[in-house]
């Protein structure tokens, strides 16, 4: 009858720590509403894979041999082999994004590029903390403020830290309303936060909206070919949205596809949250570096706007530059709120939204650039 207590005597203290972490993620998702679609499946999955002899993972049974566990299978098929889950999620994300505010004011594209600096600053910080370049690059991509990109890049680079990286990316995206105001106040003055920007809405033609995703795909493919899977799927989703003849597919991509992939992605990532790998000092370091990445991104975006202001007659509110991180739409909402705090009549939402969607494009390009460059440096 020892099989009845075999699980009980196999418990390790690291597994108990993982139950607590899983419980904490579930709590944050439910009670604090922090990225519930991802943190809840990840939290529950963390508990699931850390039960002793868990049947959701591959097990070797005496007399039978290896038995495939569902979460190990999902991880192998959906993430490890083809990065299918994060890529498919990009179709839905692309279908959800309205590039109108960006097309109405294309110079906002530059802020998306500037705000990716946090990625590379974090790579250097991670190297200084003792990670090798491959893992450091995977950790740095947390600064892309884009969960699927973080998962994809860390998987392509064969990093051992995909679990902590995914948790850091999604947790800090949910914490943007706390992190960004702190970072923005560090690098801007009250006077700068009061800068007003008039909003001149321009209607963007349907043809422009259709040509934009095609042009971005071709350009990214020609200049940074490694980014094409990410950019291509994002822009494919956007083309479905903007073409005007695939409303049903667009709706499905935005709702059913995103919901289904998100549901599976969260619990699948749990495969990389097994106690023996996860409960380590490196996980704490990665969480710290992730926070640093978001702070660097915000400061870089705001500082770039301040730099441009030296040359511009019509000044840009540096907070709009800070919205160049990819965490959409949280970041633009934060900037709108901070703009109103500095001056209750100053509305920055549409400018910030333009910079924010630019950050979405730039972060996937950054992911592709890292995948393209890092192997040559190893």
């Amino acid at each position: 009858m020892e099989f009845l207590y075999e699980g009980l005597i196999s418990i390790t203290w690291q597994q108990v720590v993982m139950w607590v972490i899983g419980g904490l993620l579930v709590y944050l998702a439910i009670a604090k509403k922090l990225e519930p679609p991802l943190l809840l499946p990840m939290g529950f999955g963390a508990i699931l894979v850390n039960l002793p002899l868990s049947g959701v993972l591959n097990q070797t049974l005496p007399g039978i041999g290896e038995v495939t566990g569902i979460i190990d299978w999902l991880f192998r098929v959906g993430i490890e082999t083809s990065e299918a889950m994060p890529l498919l999620l990009f179709i839905g994300i692309g279908a959800m994004i309205d590039f109108g505010p960006l097309l109405s004011n294309p110079r906002l594209l530059l802020f998306g590029a500037a705000a990716q600096f946090g990625i590379f600053a974090t790579v250097t910080a991670a190297v200084l903390l003792g990670f090798d370049l491959r893992d450091a690059a995977a950790i740095g991509i947390i600064g892309g403020a884009d969960g699927p990109t973080s998962i994809l890049v860390s998987q392509v680079l064969k990093s051992d830290y995909i679990g902590p990286i995914a948790i850091a990316a999604y947790s800090y995206m949910a914490l943007v309303p706390i992190i960004q105001p702190f970072a923005i106040k560090m690098c801007t003055t009250e006077k700068e936060r009061k800068i007003r920007m008039s909003y001149n809405p321009k209607s963007v033609s349907r043809l422009t909206r259709i040509l934009f995703p095609i042009a971005v795909t071709i350009i990214a493919g020609l200049v940074a070919p490694a980014s094409i899977a990410l950019v291509g799927f994002l822009m494919f989703g956007n083309l479905i949205r903007e073409c005007g003849v695939l409303k049903s597919l667009s709706d499905s991509a935005q709702k059913e596809l995103v919901n289904l992939i998100t549901l599976l992605l969260g619990i699948t990532i749990a495969a990389s949250m097994q106690a023996d790998k996860f409960v380590a000092l490196d996980t704490v370091k990665i969480m710290g570096l992730g926070l640093l990445a978001f702070i660097f991104d915000t400061i870089a975006g705001a500082s770039f706007a301040k730099f441009l202001n030296f040359f511009l007659k019509e000044k840009i509110n540096p907070m709009v530059g800070a919205a160049g991180i990819s965490a959409f739409p949280m970041s633009s909402r934060v900037i709108q709120r901070m703009g109103l705090e500095a001056d209750p009549t100053n509305h920055l939402l549409m400018h910030a939204a333009g910079a924010n969607v630019s950050g979405q494009i730039a972060s996937v390009i950054a992911g592709g650039v890292i995948i393209g460059l890092v192997p040559g440096l190893l």
Partner: protein, 52 residues
């Protein structure tokens, strides 16, 4: 300083340059598309709601 540190700085230089190059080319392409498609029509001016 270990070799990875200098490689990370190399990555930073090349990475940021690559991102800016792609974004600037996209920026120019957007301008071209807007020009060719007669893309932007100014709508009735809508100043910052706070402006009087």
């Amino acid at each position: 300083m270990n070799a990875d540190f200098f490689k990370s700085l190399d990555l930073m230089g090349k990475g940021m340059t690559a991102i800016f190059v792609v974004i600037i080319v996209i920026y120019l392409a957007v301008h071209l598309i807007l020009k060719l498609s007669g893309g932007r029509k100014k709508e009735p001016s809508e100043p910052n709601p706070g402006e009087v």
